[in-house]
């Protein structure tokens, strides 16, 4: 594996700069999906289900059809059947019958779209919906996973209540029925998660032996909340057709990857889809490839033969805008006297929502095994379907939850074993090529590419002055302080995507980027590596993004913190392709052999006498030479969409295209160590985070300000889960009562910790030439767990078993044992109470 020095010398990489999209965002020129206007644009509004689970018994749209200004009404039966998809590995993934439909005559949660109306303006569309005669027949429903698992409990779908693993390898998972017994529930006892039959499980090492050798065995249960993504831009979408081609503007996290998704939903050829998404108002996992609701304006636009803008309201975004599934976890953990985690038995019940299987519970197991390195581990998971809004991956799906489960548990073990919580974090921290579950079929474990978590803990502890704070005497009065330390980790990189750029005859680099612009700035940051590899100034680079008509290569989805890792490798691969072509052109033009030449300072030149060509001249020669040089030939290992893009760019200059084929041994993860101090008033239950520090191990930092933005922004997302964000459901009617921001409570600027500092260990990852790993997701788990640990330190270890911890939970926990409000402690394991 050539060291990175040979491939590129970091010059722009690692330095702050202004991203090319920021100016338009500050002047209001940036157009997000709902800002588009088109001639003759119709307004589209949704008719959504008022019930948690129902079937449309009667539907009569004639009155609405006849209203002046109503152009078209779309119902579920007019949707094309979603086509099967082909995975990158070539395997066909059959369209799942349980997948989320854009419209449905059997809505599976309140707010599920049933039909859509397109009219001349919003008011007419609303009046038309109110004129539609529709009757819903209520069906059995359930909003709490444990209720569905009770013997005789209701099933969220007519077909079943749990996602069961595939019967035979190669088949796909299916929804089935799984009920626990009364004995399972009784065996758990109060405040403990029952552990009935699991849907899926794995294990390594001898867990029972581990418990036997343990000096301390803890048995804890914890519930994390359902939290809606609540991106500030809802998933409004504009669609119009021209000559059989669909033009669609919507927010997404991955521009190019959204095209095949739309093609699958509409059963269309990807070539006939032009997708526009230059600016997206936040995604956080909720717009991985936009969402199936984008086909509603697409189909209405074709039916009404006019552009259609679907305006999704904030309340509708609460229903179809994705949310992180709540996990209820039961952790049995055995520790050695030094606090080493000898054995971990993790049982997780997941509130899956009504549609596709979410993987939070499974990933929680995987991240648990990596983050805490248990010597023996067993994981069991039960993804239970409920009649609640659509779920989706949200920043560190499963990763945040397992940190919230295990962070306070480690701190409690430290206190029981009379150890420093920092030391218990440290002794269990992954290092180097740390093993990570689940075990492969042959029983061996995968390994991380690298891990420098101990360095992060030490550096963070020093910045946070952990020792000094720990030494402070405990507070006696009504205001209590608490400190917490915790770690978080997540997947931070994939491989195998394509880089593409053109050296124009003017000598500029026109970089085509299929990555979405959801705010992480990674679409631009990765190109800094390319500029360094090509040794050109940043001003010479121009990035084309956000519009598939600009011939974008196949890039990764901007989610799972993978972009900086995957796309910097792809950019580097393309740069190497360009360097090879440049020295080839120089040799062909000036004689000699390519090896005599080198690229640098905007020129390709012969070593020794320095005779050479400028990039512009080389580009013009490339056009004359044709073939692979100017894109008329394309390497066959790149993705089909990249090949289409190259074909379109042929002849425009020196076309550099390559698939990231750099080797990588192991899986790329990034880690964060977080430290928090809270000041809590036991009389009012209110608290604030006075000090917070997050130290990252994410390899090389490519763009410090953007890196800091993720460290602060994603920590705040975790802090929101620990402090204020959750759902409230009226279980009798199965309806949410918390629908507005002042009821679901996303954190505000005043919720920022007063002193917030961050740092990065900055040791490059050996398994990637650029050395950079993603940072988007690890901070959430670390921050959430650090704040929970600080609260537990201030309030006492058994003060709460659920997040978020709000004033009522603090007051109830602080109530003296015999206090009459003691009964008021929000017990139980339902997340939506």
């Amino acid at each position: 594996m050539p060291t990175d020095a040979a491939l590129f010398t970091p010059n722009l990489t690692g330095r702050d700069y202004t991203t090319p999209d920021l100016r338009a965002k500050l002047t209001g020129a940036a157009r997000y999906a709902e800002d588009f206007r088109a001639e003759g644009m119709l307004a589209c509004r949704l008719l959504t289900s008022p019930m948690p689970h129902a079937r449309v018994a009667r539907l009569d749209t004639r009155a609405a059809q006849g209203m002046p200004g109503v152009r078209a009404i779309l119902t579920a039966d007019e949707l094309p059947p979603p086509a099967d998809s082909v995975a990158d590995s070539g395997a066909t993934i059959k369209a799942s019958p349980w997948a989320e439909p854009a419209l449905s005559m059997e809505p599976l949660h309140q707010g599920a779209p049933v039909l859509a109306v397109a009219a001349v303006d919003d008011a007419t569309a609303v009046a038309a919906i109110e004129a539609i005669e529709i009757e819903f027949a209520p069906l059995p429903f359930v909003t709490d996973p444990l209720d569905s698992l009770r013997p005789g409990g209701p099933d969220a779908r007519t077909g079943g209540n749990v996602w069961l693993p595939p019967a035979r390898a190669g088949e796909q998972a299916a929804v089935g029925r799984l009920k626990w017994t009364d004995e399972d529930f009784r065996a758990a006892g109060p405040g403990r998660l029952p552990m009935g039959k699991a849907a899926a499980e794995w294990s390594y090492g001898d867990v029972e032996a581990g418990f036997r050798q343990s000096a301390l065995v803890l048995d804890e249960s914890f519930v994390t909340p359902n939290v809606s993504h609540q991106a500030l831009e809802t998933r409004s979408t504009l669609a119009w057709w021209e000559n059989g081609k669909l033009f669609l503007a919507a927010g997404t996290q991955s521009t190019i990857q959204t095209v095949p998704a739309i093609a699958r939903w509409l059963n269309m050829d990807p070539k006939d889809i032009v997708f526009l998404s230059e600016y997206t108002g936040g995604g956080f996992g909720g717009k991985i490839t936009a969402s199936v609701s984008v086909i509603i304006p697409a189909l209405l636009s074709r039916k009404a033969n006019a552009p259609v803008m679907l305006r999704v309201t904030r309340e509708e975004e609460q229903y179809i805008g994705r949310a992180r599934p709540s996990l209820a976890g039961r952790m049995k953990a055995g520790f050695s006297p030094e606090g080493r985690l000898l054995a971990l038995d993790l049982f997780v019940v997941q509130d899956n929502g009504p549609y596709e299987q979410q993987h939070d519970a499974a990933i929680a197991g995987r991240m648990g095994s990596l983050l805490y390195q248990p010597q023996a581990m067993r994981w069991r998971g039960v993804p239970v379907l409920t009649n609640t809004p659509v779920r989706g991956a949200q920043t560190a799906p499963g990763g945040l939850q397992v940190s919230a489960f295990m962070g306070p548990l480690l701190a409690k073990a430290a206190r029981r074993l009379n150890l420093d919580p920092l030391d218990v974090c440290r002794i269990n921290a992954p290092a180097g090529r740390a093993p990570v579950g689940p075990p492969r079929p042959d029983g061996t474990l995968n390994a991380a590419t690298s891990a420098f978590v101990r360095e992060a803990l030490d550096k963070g502890a020093q910045a946070f002055r952990w020792g000094e704070r720990r030494a402070r005497p405990a507070d006696a009065g009504t205001v209590r302080r608490g400190i917490g330390v915790a770690t978080g980790c997540f997947v931070a990189g994939t491989v195998g995507f394509d880089g593409l750029f053109v050296i124009t005859p003017e000598g500029r680099l026109r970089i085509h980027c299929g990555v979405g612009n959801l705010g992480t700035e990674s679409f631009s940051d990765v190109q800094r590596v390319l500029a360094d590899a090509m040794d050109v100034p940043w001003e010479a680079c121009e990035i084309l993004w956000g519009n598939t008509a600009r011939h974008l290569p196949w890039s990764c989805i901007s989610g799972g913190s993978q972009t900086i890792h995957s796309m910097s490798r792809a950019a580097l691969a393309a740069a190497l392709d360009a360097r090879r072509k440049l020295v080839g052109i120089a040799a062909a033009t000036l004689g000699g052999v390519p090896e005599d030449y080198d690229v640098g300072g905007g020129r390709v030149f012969r070593r020794g006498d320095g005779r050479g060509l400028s990039l512009g001249e080389a580009a013009r020669r490339a056009i004359e030479l044709g073939g692979a040089y100017d894109g008329h030939e394309c390497p066959d290992d790149v993705h089909g969409m990249t090949r289409t893009a190259v074909a379109a760019l042929a002849g425009q200059g020196l076309v550099a295209v390559a698939r990231d084929a750099f080797p990588r041994d192991g899986q790329s993860y990034s880690y964060v160590a977080a430290f928090a101090e809270v000041e809590l008033d036991t009389e009012t239950g209110m608290y604030r985070i006075t000090d917070f520090h997050a130290e990252a191990d994410a390899g090389r930092v490519v763009h410090p300000r953007a890196f800091g933005g993720q460290m602060v922004g994603r920590s705040m997302l975790g802090i929101g889960h620990a402090t204020t964000q959750k759902w409230f459901y009226d279980t009798r009617y199965g309806l949410p009562v918390a629908k507005r921001f002042h009821q679901t409570r996303p954190p505000t600027i005043l919720s920022m910790p007063e002193r917030f500092t961050w740092g990065a260990v900055g040791i490059p990852d050996p398994q990637t030439p650029v050395g950079a790993r993603g940072i988007g997701e690890p901070p959430t788990g670390a921050a959430c767990a650090a704040v929970l640990c600080a609260l537990a330190h201030a309030m006492g270890d058994d003060a709460f078993i659920r997040a978020p911890v709000m004033a009522d939970a603090v007051l109830a926990a602080m109530e003296p044992e015999n206090g009459k409000n003691r009964a008021n402690r929000p017990r139980g394991l339902s997340a939506n109470v």
Partner: protein, 372 residues
């Protein structure tokens, strides 16, 4: 009949520029028009002040007035002036103006502090004092369009066993357990303010405490205002001017959120002996909840030893499944008001409110060497 919860229905908009015109309009429009099928006509007229309480209900299509009377142009209803030793505040004065007004900050800091902690800066810039006092209940069943008693239906969903009533009443509930969410109302009740209400026929003045209705009297409204009434003046007597005030608002987020519980207290002392006190809890009942029994127990006692009087604050409390903590809060807030402790660690806030600073948070610096 499908339900849509977004899209402001049409209404006729009137913009009178005098109180008299406004009253004439309300009188003409205020009366219900009988529909031919015997039901009462649509809600005819709605008074619009800052718009923060009503525009969202029109957009939710839960309230659909056919006419709206916008008071933005009625200059007479705005401003703060002194009449003799009474301070008179126009109901259309924005909360920001009330929070900043020198006379109010100096003589009635309690009201200024309450106004400063309402919702968010923009809402304080638009929202009016009259609107904050006259706003409707924020029970998430009622505001979500559920057909409960307060909406003219036949049940209180929040009071049912197992219902979500974390933010509901622990005092004075009668069938409906919603709370009065106003922050300025407890302050004005503590200050013994009086409110002048006019309609086309006549003018009447009510004590701030009597401006608010409990569900036992009329379950469908929080104030005595009739459809053709207009709140025209808020008069604060000098009784409590310059005495010792204590305002504290407990809420989950330090901005936007309504109070879980709040307290507004005024206390007159000679030396450290309490002569007279007024303590009023907010967001624990359908109206500002005075604590007369505590006030009585405080009279004449030295402040430091009077803290136990706070235990009387919880008499008559009836907690539901999820709001028992409000009983603890009522006692603790009363205790802090008596002892005059500074509000403790405000919830996740950098300083309790604009008025009281807090240590300056240093920027999130990247410590350690710049990653090369």
């Amino acid at each position: 009949m499908a339900t849509v919860r977004d899209g402001m229905p049409h209404f006729d908009l009137y913009q009178p520029d005098s109180v008299e015109d406004a009253l004439a309009l309300l009188d003409r429009l205020g009366r219900g028009a009988h529909m031919d099928d015997g039901t009462d006509g649509p809600l005819r007229a709605w008074v619009l002040a800052g718009g923060l309480d009503c525009l969202e209900r029109f957009k939710d299509r839960i309230r659909r007035p056919s006419a709206v009377v916008d008071l933005a142009r009625v200059g007479a209803l705005r401003g703060v002036r002194r009449e003799g030793d009474e301070t008179v505040i126009g109901p259309m004065t924005t909360l920001a103006e009330v929070a900043r007004h020198p006379d109010i900050r100096e003589r009635f800091g309690l009201l200024a502090e309450a106004a400063a902690q309402v919702a968010s800066p923009q809402i304080r810039n638009q929202g009016t004092l009259g609107g904050n006092l006259s706003q409707d209940a924020r029970c998430w069943y009622y505001r979500g369009g559920w057909p409960c008693y307060r909406a003219g239906g036949n049940i209180c969903y929040a009071a049912a066993p197992g219902a979500m009533n974390r933010e509901h009443a622990v005092f004075g509930a009668r069938r409906c357990v919603a709370v009065s969410p106003s922050d300025t109302a407890p302050a004005l009740v503590a200050l013994e303010a009086r409110l002048v209400i006019r309609n086309a026929a006549r003018t009447r003045m009510v004590a701030a405490e009597d401006y608010f209705l409990g569900p036992e009297t009329d379950i469908t409204r929080l104030t005595v205002l009739e459809p053709d009434d207009l709140l025209v003046e808020i008069r604060i007597p000098p009784t409590w001017a310059g005495t010792r005030f204590h305002f504290e608002k407990v809420r989950d987020r330090p901005v936007w959120d309504f109070a879980l519980a709040s307290i507004a207290a005024a206390m007159r002392q000679t030396g450290d002996r309490i002569d007279q006190a007024r303590l009023v809890l907010g967001s624990v009942a359908a109206r500002p909840w005075r604590l007369p029994q505590v006030e009585a127990a405080l009279a004449g006692r030295p402040r430091e030893e009077a803290a136990d009087a706070a235990d009387l604050a919880v008499r008559g409390a009836v907690p539901l499944a999820h709001n028992g903590y409000k009983v603890t809060l009522a006692r603790n807030l009363a205790r802090r008001a008596i002892l005059g402790q500074p509000p403790g660690a405000p919830s996740l806030a950098m300083g309790a409110s604009g008025l009281m600073g807090a240590p300056d948070p240093s920027p999130a610096r990247q410590t350690g060497k710049e990653a090369s």
